[in-house]
Symmetry: C2
Subunit: 243 residues, 2 copies
DNA sequence: ACAAAAGTGTTTCATTTACACCCATGT
DNA sequence: ACATGGGTGTAAATGAAACACTTTTGT
């Protein structure tokens, strides 16, 4: 017997992945397609999500949804907002879909975002036809998912300035320039390399490895890692008022 | 005919109020009391909250809940987290209450906090027996409301450092020391008065009025106001990475 | 030898921190 | 006159911002 769904409550997941090579911050989306008599009713993308089961916490639902799509567990996740507008699933495109899927059209969704590495996800033969899209080149999106992604992105932008979550998006071994590129991708700004470099290297929790890049057709860069242990140890709450 | 409730979805409101005189950051709570045959089953406090109506957005529910309790509208509010643990309403104290109120015991609540001035709320003859409690001296609380308040408070602590929401808790005319006292109350820290004073007075959006305190039995202090217009005009996003 | 990205130092400016006494007013 | 909280200034230290060239490597 299947677990029982809560019919008017779902979790939607904005899965962020960073591709070090293309320097692109991406969002993982799944295909939504519906036709009747060769008549295409719905053809766009949506976030991955599912109803909450009766026995589950919201966090567990989010974890399950990610695992179902990618096979991954133990990824950084954050619940960032609930969306409950009564009209959020009532656009012209959404109605046939909802009818087909027997959704409750007044469904509240609790939205999470995940941070992971694009390279950790294998999409070949993905049963949801999942695909990565650069955050700035999103396809046509169903429901209110464009808004949800936008709010996740805003939260990420703020949060990456004050917490070391950036490293969740990078490989375990990275270069200083990787970090800079990622900040530039997320924030849409340019950063001075010398200042950034000095700042980062001076952090005790940024550890230079005995290793350099291999297989690059240029001067190979020094590799570093992030030590969460050291970060936690030296973390000090800062009460700087900047209004 | 009454609007139709969504039975498994509610909004709970953490109403923060600051009392300038006692320098106390308070939370507004309502009484929860139930007895049968002179047998007290439930006697504690809870947050104010209510089910979401079918036609309402979540924000509208929160606004309605606050208005119902205090008569106030147009107060600062923020949705900060959804709570959906399947066991969140199943403690020994909560069960008789839920039975009595015909709640769905698997109710998800979307939590908001409000910031307002204690003095704006009149509690005489309040039909919910509402009362203010200092954030550090909360009474026995029902459901998971202690956790909800704690999370609201954490969010407030972070947010007041980077956004001028502190002024939502103060009267329109305040002294520099009022602001300092409030920061100290919220953050639980001590601040150097000279440094704080200089910092604040140098902000263009902190405007010295042609007025001083009246009715105080000491040297009356200069009154100031906060100009949101000027704040918005000179606001600049800051991309300082502090990890 | 050349292309391409990695890596490096110094100066200026702004902000934060530390710190102790006099002042104005009401009683 | 006195008690009470209001109000003030300076110097040192830290952190951010601006800025251009050399080095290393693979091809």
């Amino acid at each position: 017997m299947n677990p029982e769904k809560i019919l008017n409550l779902s979790v939607d997941c904005v899965v962020f992945g960073y591709d070090v090579n293309t320097k692109s911050l991406n969002v993982l989306l799944i295909k939504r397609y519906l036709e009747t008599n060769n008549n295409v009713l719905v053809d766009d993308y949506v976030l991955t999500g599912y109803h909450v089961y009766k026995h589950e916490t919201l966090d567990e639902t989010a974890t399950r949804v990610l695992r179902e799509l990618t096979g991954l567990t133990n990824q950084y996740k954050k619940q960032f907002k609930a969306f409950g507008n009564p009209n959020r699933l009532t656009s012209e495109k959404d109605l046939p879909w909802i009818e087909n899927e027997k959704f409750n059209s007044r469904t509240i969704t609790v939205a999470y975002y995940f941070l992971l590495k694009t390279e950790d996800v294998s999409l070949t033969n993905n049963k949801y036809s999942a695909a990565w899209f650069p955050i700035n080149k999103l396809p046509d999106l169903g429901f209110d998912h464009k808004e949800i992604i936008q709010e996740a992105y805003e939260d990420l932008k703020v949060k990456c300035l004050s917490e070391p979550i950036i490293f969740k998006l990078l490989p375990d071994k990275f270069t200083i320039n990787d970090v800079q590129d990622l900040y530039e991708s997320i924030l849409g700004i340019e950063i001075d390399n010398r200042n950034f470099r000095r700042k980062l290297i001076n952090k005790k929790y940024i550890i230079a490895l005995d290793e350099k890049q291999v297989g690059v057709s240029k001067r190979p860069a020094q590799l570093y890692m992030f030590s969460k242990d050291i970060y936690d140890k030296i973390f000090e709450k800062n009460y700087l008022i900047s209004i």
